[in-house]
């Protein structure tokens, strides 16, 4: 049975138009994967000597275990945004003689082979070897390595539990923030010292191999809980007949002032507010707005002026990047209809453009309080906002014409939590890094003011050329019309 599933998945992946047309993106993903593997390998081999230098009078093994707690927290956060449960279209399987539990075991088992679980191995194994070389006992090292692998898997399944809960609540980030926040707060306010608890626990297990049954039990419990959640969802009516929600219509007549694009703006606003997947974007915006707080309060970043535009682009452009890169895939479900309707492509695209510009302006206004950390930040953010409006918005609209992946807003697939993954963030990187590089270069050559001026000038150039650029983009969409219709009418 498992063999059949694997074959199905293989075909689904390689026969989708997405794979064939996004080879470059796949190569990029592989490149990133290799990069991280190298980084982790370096970390694994280099950590022990480094620790001995930094903390000469402490046992490096204990120091490492003291940090495990923070690693768990960080890993949970990262996975929540990047790792999704492997989606399998289960509907056709339900009427076949396949046990429901087999399907669930397969999906869960497959998730254990995720790249996110292999990556830590590249650090854990070398570090274990280094420990052995240093003269730690073989049993201790092996038990430690095995414990770490168990912890990785626990994080893996814990993440899916969190995601399952966040899929059910309106505030999709709440469960994650609750879990991570509680753990961190317990540690930070010294209620329960989680760092030492986890650290001592791991050391204890390493010294007494029999105790490894404890993490094993936790892992099994997490797995069983996942199993229960998924099995309950594996019924046609729970995924098909999803809750019939009563419509709450908002008054959108204010969009009328945008003239002929008003119908599309209303449609886009409804799209965002009425679909779970797009709604989570609103919460991503909140996270994005707070992103600067990771950097600015710390004095060490205060002097890294070249970083400001990067954060500025991220803070003011987070909606632009998240929403923009799926234009026109958001409308993929009814793209045929739009194409046969009496619409002007230019209006359709302009509506998306205005929406993105509005979001940049709003995000900039909301980010003004960052001026508390220095006026340079405000200036850099302003320049970033102008650059977003003038350059990035056009770039992302243009990039959209290469979009060939359908988005199923109706969320029929039982395992489709949010449906976004690592790729989404990678696409956004060039949009943020390029202006940072431009700014850093000019800043280095001619100073802060010139750097800011360069970004603003680039942005203004984009705004001035808006009409022309839009014409070119519209043409590009028209040229790709048949291909897009064809790709959007395919499932997965």
């Amino acid at each position: 049975m498992i063999k059949h599933f694997l074959r199905l998945q293989w075909k689904q992946y390689f026969r989708s138009s997405y794979w064939q047309k996004n080879l470059a993106l796949n190569i990029l993903l592989v490149f990133f994967a290799l990069y991280f593997i190298v980084v982790f390998l370096a970390l694994g081999f280099g950590l022990l000597p480094i620790l001995k230098k930094v903390y000469p009078d402490q046992d490096p093994f204990e120091v490492v275990n003291g940090f495990i707690f923070f690693w768990i927290i960080a890993d949970l956060m990262i996975r929540f945004f990047l790792q999704k449960l492997p989606v399998m279209s289960v509907k056709p399987l339900l009427t076949l003689p396949v046990k429901r539990s087999t399907v669930v075991h397969y999906v869960l088992g497959k998730s254990a082979f995720s790249f996110f679980n292999f990556l830590p191995l590249f650090a854990i194994v070398p570090f274990g070897i280094m420990l052995g070389v240093e003269g730690y006992g073989a049993v201790l090292v092996l038990t430690w390595m095995f414990t770490m692998i168990l912890i990785v898997l626990i994080i893996n399944f814990l993440n899916f539990i969190i995601e399952a809960f966040s899929a059910e609540t309106e505030l999709s980030f709440l469960p994650l923030i609750a879990v991570v926040g509680t753990l961190y707060a317990l540690d930070y306010f010294n209620v329960v010292s989680m760092t030492t608890l986890v650290g001592d626990g791991i050391i204890g297990i390493a010294n007494h191999p029999i105790l490894i049954l404890i993490p094993l039990a936790i892992l099994l419990a997490c797995y069983a809980f996942n199993f229960k959640i998924l099995k309950d969802k594996l019924f046609l009516d729970s995924s098909l007949k999803s809750k019939v929600t009563e419509v709450k219509a908002a008054d959108l007549s204010w969009t009328k002032r945008f003239g002929d694009i008003a119908p599309f703006m209303q449609l886009d606003l409804k799209l965002i507010w009425r679909n779970k997947r797009t709604k989570s974007m609103v919460f991503i915006m909140v996270i994005g707005l707070l992103y600067g707080l990771f950097f600015y309060p710390q004095p060490m970043y205060r002097d890294m002026v070249w970083l400001f535009p990067f954060i500025g682009i991220f803070v003011t452009g987070i909606f632009l990047i998240n929403f923009g890169q799926f234009i026109p895939a958001w409308d993929s479900g009814y793209y045929k209809m739009l194409m046969s309707q009496n619409i002007k492509y230019e209006q359709y695209l302009r509506s998306k453009f205005i929406l993105m510009v509005l979001s940049v302006v709003i995000m900039f206004v909301l980010s003004i309080p960052y001026v508390y950390f220095g006026w340079k930040i405000l200036v850099a953010h302003f320049a970033a906002a102008i650059y977003n409006i003038g350059v990035n918005s056009h770039v992302i609209l243009y990039g959209g014409s290469f979009n060939r992946k359908k988005i199923d807003l109706n969320q029929r697939a039982a395992f489709n939590y949010q449906g976004t993954g690592a790729v989404q963030w990678i696409i956004g990187l060039p949009l943020m890094i390029l202006p940072m590089l431009i700014f850093a270069l000019v800043n280095w050559l001619a100073g802060f003011e010139s750097g800011v001026a360069t970004l603003i000038l680039l942005g203004i150039a984009g705004i001035v050329l808006h009409k022309k650029v839009m014409k070119m983009i519209t043409q590009r969409y028209l040229d790709a019309k048949y291909k897009m219709i064809d790709a959007f009418s395919q499932d997965s």
Binding site: V244, T245, E246, V247, A249, A262, P263, Q266, L267, K270, L271, R274, N275, G333, Y334, Y335, K336, M337, M339, S340, Q341, N342, I343, L409, N410, Y482, I485, D486, S489
Partner: protein, 241 residues
């Protein structure tokens, strides 16, 4: 009005549609019949410029559909559920289509109120999203949306499928009424021979992409069609033996 010349569509060398010449005059109600894979939906998709013809073209009102978009204001269509926007209510969807076709809310309301019987009280004012409606009700909404904005050409692919018997009869009446009006050209496809012969003045039978029959509807047409498809079934059964 709609003139098809040397039209063909092939995928990787396999021809799925090949029409040398087909002319549909203004105001005709035109039915397209054929087995699965005969090319009905392909023809409609070409007519709506959703796919590109391999050779030839379709002209409506002297506008070549794959070269200009000027046919869109007077053409409306409902091909399948992918024409609906799942996260809108039926009313919102009607208003949206109305906006695109230059109709204000009052115009749209006036039109949809004529179809209260057809909707059977299951569409309007239910505060439900289109994605939560049943297949049949989705279809009703889609068909009525295709009537918004006084189109001159209406294209409906399989309008009778998924509808309950009562609604099928009501839909036939609606289509007949439309055909009576001056100047509205209706194109429908169907597997239900009885319904098409009932509604359409002219019926074209497609088989493997070719036009093999072109009939003016008269009382004998249904028998003729049934005989044709029955002989098909019979001959293919013989081949298998």
């Amino acid at each position: 009005m709609i003139y098809t010349k040397d039209l063909s569509k092939s995928y990787n060398g396999t021809t799925v549609l090949n029409i040398e010449e087909l002319s549909i005059p203004k105001g005709q109600s035109f039915g397209l019949v054929g087995n699965n894979g005969a090319g009905k939906t392909t023809y409609f998709s070409l007519l709506l410029d959703l796919i590109k013809p391999t050779t030839g073209n379709i002209t409506t009102n002297d506008i070549v559909v794959d070269q200009s978009e000027d046919w869109k204001p007077f053409t409306s269509s409902f091909i399948d559920e992918s024409f609906l926007i799942g996260y809108l209510t039926p009313e919102e969807y009607f208003y949206f289509i109305g906006d695109l076709r230059g109709q204000n809310k009052a115009d749209v309301d006036a039109l949809t109120s004529q179809f209260e019987d057809f909707f059977n009280g299951e569409i309007i004012g239910k505060k439900k999203y289109l994605r939560d409606l049943s297949k049949g009700n989705q279809k009703k909404a889609g068909i009525v949306a295709a009537l918004i904005g006084n189109p001159e050409v209406i294209v409906l692919d399989e309008p009778f499928a998924n509808l309950d018997p009562t609604t099928q009869i009501r839909l036939k009446q609606i289509l007949k009424d439309l055909a009576q009006k001056q100047g509205i050209t209706i194109l429908i496809s169907s597997h239900d021979l009885m319904h098409v012969t009932d509604v359409c003045e002219r019926i074209v039978v497609l088989e493997k992409g070719d036009v093999i029959m072109d009939l003016e509807t008269n009382p004998k047409t249904l028998k003729e069609l049934e005989a044709h498809f029955a002989s098909n079934a019979f001959s293919s059964a013989q081949e298998e033996e």
